[in-house]
């Protein structure tokens, strides 16, 4: 429990007869970039929501940042960051205002917010847009901003749910640069994606198929195991008999 | 054109269209919460208007100050007490008390018998009773005064049975179209019109706009079917929903409220279908002017329903309104539907009485559809 950011044992989430997440077990080390892969409908988002304290598991155990997902959800939330598929920023607030709100809510002092937002704006190259409302920004910038907001309060772990949907490969690459930087700063990154090539960027990945963890290891190890040249092939091997193909 | 005579690609598109219509039905009927409200609304309105709400004036809180305490006052007070129009509250103690009683809302009328009332009647041949009415609601005040006058007249009759008025006109009243005395039946056409507006206008417009928002509209338009077919397909589930609602309301009115359908049900049904189509056309027009579901909803609910509520004439009498409102009401389709339903359902009149209104509704429908289709086609190109 000491150095593990996330621990899952037989975690299950059931809706009626349907097991969205079926007895998954894995561990994520501190400072790791952990890829949570799988096809649409495999159960990735459901699992992540449990880990974020948004959903109660049906059975099994999980600890995030050392806290129990059943009883200590509020403590978990204080220590994590989150970026959802919808890039949930407030469209009618400016960049600065969005940063201010989310950072403030996590307990960052007003002084620190002021100082560090200036730096953040510079780093992102958004000086000209700082006072504009987020709604008018192109998708790529919104993504980067959402990520920055998610890690502004320097959480122990940041959860990213399909963060790179809908943008070109260059922007995706830039986004991953930001992830690397965060990991270098000591933040554990838990990222779900269905882009198999992004798997190469992670330290370790797990692949979910039909609600279960079909494989968990580093990308290179997996490629060796399945005699594959790319992660796409690995995934194909694992998922071709999958029964569930959409959420 | 027979199914088999159609070229293959048309057959496929027809299948796609049917599948699409099926999906629309599924989508509509799966949203149980909205469905509950859509059926609950007319049911609740009928129950409320039919049983709970009434513009009749009765059970009025009244308090009496009897300064005379003689036989006459006692008799009169008892008469007031036994009238169902009044609900007698605690007697008034003094003049200041009256104001307080009005202020806490327990009474709407105060009656004061002066001292020596009885002896005045006996010896002087007459006496005056003081009545103070709360005219916040002007209608109440008028009717309350009327009721009291009637009670007094009755009592006078008792006092002087022999010396009755030498000239007495006795009115015999017939309540037309409403022998069961159901308060007002106005509301039934109103409830129907309202639910048509909600289902056929608001929901249809939102449904079409949703397709635009999701981007699936283009897929539909690629099919060899004309845009008209696509729009019709969208509208069909709401047409069905409206018809079900209509039948529900009629059943409730007939069996729960004992309202007869005096005229031809077929005619009523046909006119209602016409009006539903008018509402659908309105919904389609609205869906053409906006790309956002929220805006479509707002325009339908606020822009269409509010005028329907206010200016159709079923809730508030049109003749009281300034002429500009009356003019606007002539632009509102539900105004004509209201007249048609009243005539056919409640008065039992035939087509000869409503052909004008029917024509106007049909005309409105054609205009609305033409504009919507034109706009729709422009957007495509």
């Amino acid at each position: 429990m000491e150095n593990k950011a996330i621990i899952c044992k037989d975690l299950t989430k059931q809706f009626g007869d349907f097991k969205a997440v079926d007895k998954i077990s894995f561990e994520v080390n501190e400072g790791e970039i952990f890829g949570f892969l799988g096809a649409n409908g495999a159960g990735k988002t459901t699992a992540m929501r449990i880990l974020c304290g948004l959903s109660f598991p049906t059975s099994g155990e999980a600890h995030v940042a050392g806290f129990d997902v059943y009883k200590q959800q509020e403590k978990i939330k204080k220590n994590i960051g989150y970026m959802s598929q919808k890039f949930s920023l407030y469209d009618n607030l400016t960049i600065l205002e969005n940063i201010e709100f989310f950072a403030g809510v996590y307990g960052v002092s007003r002084y620190e917010i002021k100082e560090r937002s200036k730096d953040l704006i510079l780093t992102l190259g958004l000086e000209k847009e700082a006072k504009k409302v987020v709604g008018g920004l192109p998708l790529g910038w919104k993504q980067k901003l959402a990520f920055s907001v998610a890690v502004f309060h320097r959480p122990k772990i940041v959860f990213l749910d399909e963060p790179t949907g809908g943008v070109d490969p260059i922007t995706r690459r830039q986004f991953w640069e930001m992830i690397y930087q965060a990991a270098a700063d000591g933040i554990t990154v838990f990222v779900t994606t269905h882009y198999m090539d992004e798997a190469e960027y992670c330290d370790r990945i797990s692949i979910m198929v039909d609600g279960r963890v079909a494989a968990i290891d580093s990308p290179s190890a997996l490629k060796k195991r399945f005699n594959a040249v790319s992660m796409d092939e690995v995934f194909y091997e694992l998922a071709r008999n999958a029964k569930r193909t959409s959420d | 054109m027979n199914w088999r005579e159609m070229p293959k690609e048309h057959q496929i598109s027809m299948k796609r269209l049917l599948a699409f219509i099926r999906k629309e039905f599924y989508h509509v009927f799966r949203d149980q919460r909205t469905l509950l409200i859509l059926f609950g609304l007319p049911v609740v309105q009928i129950i409320l208007f039919g049983f709970a709400l009434s513009s009749e004036v009765k059970n009025i809180g009244i308090a009496i100050q009897d300064n005379s305490h003689d036989l006459h006052t006692e008799k009169m007070i008892r008469k007031i007490q036994s009238s169902s129009y009044f609900h007698v509250e605690n007697p008034i103690l003094n003049y200041n008390d009256i104001e307080n009683r009005f202020k806490d809302g327990t009474i709407k009328c105060a009656v004061i018998f002066p001292s020596n009332f009885g002896s005045d009647v006996q010896r002087l041949g007459g006496a005056k009773i003081q009545v103070i009415a709360d005219a916040s609601d002007p209608n109440t005040a008028t009717i309350v005064t009327n009721y009291l006058n009637a009670i007094i007249r009755d009592y006078q009759q008792e006092l002087n049975p022999s010396a009755k008025l030498n000239y007495q006109i006795i009115p015999e009243l017939r309540q037309l179209y409403n022998e069961e005395q159901n308060g007002s039946l106005n509301f039934i056409p109103g409830v129907i019109a309202l639910i048509f507006m909600i289902v056929s206008t608001a929901l249809t417009s939102v449904a079409v706009v949703r397709e635009k928002e999701l981007g699936t509209m283009e897929i539909l338009l690629v099919s060899p079917f004309s845009p008209i077919m696509v729009l019709i397909a969208k509208a069909i589930p709401y047409l069905v929903l409206s018809i079900i609602n209509f039948i529900l309301i009629i059943l409730l009115s007939v069996y729960l409220l004992d309202v007869e359908i005096k005229g031809s049900f077929l005619l009523l049904f046909a006119e209602s279908i016409l009006f539903i189509i008018t509402c659908l056309s309105l919904g389609l027009l609205i869906s053409n002017v906006t790309d956002s579901q929220q805006t479509a909803m707002l325009i339908s609910m606020m822009g269409m329903m509010l005028p329907t509520l206010l200016l159709t004439g079923f809730m508030f009498p049109l003749e009281n309104m300034p002429w500009i409102f009356q003019a606007i009401s002539h632009l509102i389709p539900s105004h004509y539907y209201y007249i048609i339903v009243k005539a056919v359902m409640l008065k039992g009149l035939g087509f000869s009485y409503i052909w004008k209104e029917t024509l106007i509704l049909a005309g409105m429908t054609v205009v609305l559809l033409t504009i919507s289709l034109k706009k729709f086609k422009i957007r495509l190109s």
Binding site: G53, F56, Y82, K86, Y90, F101, G104, V105, Y106 | R33, V44, F49, A52, L53, S55, V57, N59, H87, F102, D104, G105, G125, G126, A127, K128, I129, Q130, D134, A135, S136, D137, P138, T142, I143, N146, N149, N160, A163, L165, N166, Y167, Q168, I169, P171, E172, R174, Q175, Y177, N186, M297, L298, L310, L311, F316, P317, E319, M321, K342, K347, Y353
Partner: protein, 374 residues
């Protein structure tokens, strides 16, 4: 508390950038206060009547003249038969038919009494009731006139019967205009819209675009989130109320007779109760469309049952009990009392208590129902 500060900052920023809400704060009160009283007028100004005179006597002529000059009626025709008269009603050109039978004058003089037939279009109950009442007044007057003339004539030898008359005065609405009754009610409608509708829609919109999830994943606590929504909309509601009061005075000249403090106190508590309702509704809806329908459903029932349009006195017992359980009923009653009659805290204190209870119950339900984790 610091967190609450950040939340409120964000909410206020969003509200003032949301054109819909700004429109609501200013345009909608003005619009509703002007348009609604013009439309929502239940006064029966003039009733259309046709008469069928089978007698053609001087008495029937006198009666007809009296009706025409009474100011209550508008004579639209003089058909020669009842059936023809019916056509007027069918075409909605007339509301009442008065049929004077042949022998009217003769029977009145010889027998002392005579029946007349009245047929009223009873589809609109109010109109027919009032029309009938007016007609009765005219008929009674007519009888009285004849009677007086008879008594004043030398042939009369009868003892005049004792006459009890009413001396009636109207308080609180000297010109008996409907708008004094409606306008305070519209203020209530405004607050109801803000509390119920706008709040529910706002929260459900956050559900739809996903920002609620973002909030649920932060350490923001339930009470902070709820207060963060209640407080800004409460303030908006109070602003709207004030705008409404100003418009009411400027346009209608209605100045509350009672204390402003008491009025605002009630408004504040009522708004809190309605906000709780809006919050509760938002926990049941997933889309704005659903929220709109659910809110509309409840608002409609409340407004209809509240005594806004029709009096609660005339309701059957079960309906009256039901209306006691809605906060709208109490607030409408109080607003009319305070504005038109100047009632003070003493007189309406119990109503305040009821509103408090509503506020507590509704908000508790909403808080209980709102879950950060599913």
């Amino acid at each position: 508390m610091k967190v609450l500060g950040f939340i409120l900052q964000k909410e206020f920023r969003q509200i003032f950038r949301d054109k819909t809400i700004l429109a609501m704060m200013f345009f909608v009160p003005i619009f509703q206060l002007i348009i609604l009283p013009l439309a929502a007028n239940f006064e029966v100004k003039s009733v259309n009547i046709v008469y069928v005179d089978h007698d053609h006597s001087s008495y029937s002529q006198k009666l007809i003249n009296k009706i025409g000059s009474s100011g209550y009626f508008h004579i639209v025709g003089a058909p020669s038969s009842y059936l023809e008269g019916l056509e007027f009603i069918e075409r909605e050109d007339a509301d009442l038919i008065l049929e004077i039978p042949s022998g009217f004058e003769r029977n009145l003089v010889r027998e002392g009494s005579q029946k007349v037939n009245i047929a009223a279009d009873a589809i609109n109950g109010t109109k027919s009731n009032i029309g009938n009442a007016y007609l009765n007044v005219v008929l009674a007057d007519f009888s009285n006139d004849l009677d007086i003339r008879y008594k004043l004539s030398p042939q009369s030898a009868s003892v005049s019967p004792s006459l009890i008359t009413l001396n009636s005065t109207n308080w609180y609405n000297p010109r008996a205009e409907y708008k004094y009754y409606m306008v305070p009610g519209i203020l209530v409608l405004l607050l109801t819209l803000i509390g119920g509708f706008i709040t529910a829609l706002n929260i459900v919109k956050e559900k739809e675009i996903g920002t609620i999830e973002q909030i649920n994943v932060t350490p923001i606590q339930k009470w902070q989130f709820i207060l963060g929504k209640l407080i800004p909309f409460w303030i908006v509601g109070m602003i709207v109320f004030t705008v409404g009061l100003i418009v009411m005075y400027l346009i209608y000249g209605i100045f509350p007779q009672g204390s402003f403090l008491v009025l605002y106190l009630f408004a504040g508590v009522y708004l809190t109760a309605l906000l709780g309702l809006g919050l509760l509704i938002s926990t049941f809806a997933d889309t704005q469309l659903q929220a709109m329908f659910i809110a509309y459903f409840f608002m409609m029932i409340f407004m209809l049952m509240s005594g806004f349009f029709t009096s609660t006195d005339s309701m059957p017992n079960w309906a009256r009990i039901f209306s006691e359980f809605t906060p709208v009923t109490h607030f409408i009653k109080v607003v009319r009392l305070i504005v038109l009659k100047g009632s003070g805290l003493q007189e309406v204190g119990t109503e305040l208590l009821y509103l408090f209870i509503f506020a507590i119950v509704l908000n508790s339900l909403a808080i209980y129902n709102y879950r950060k984790t599913n």
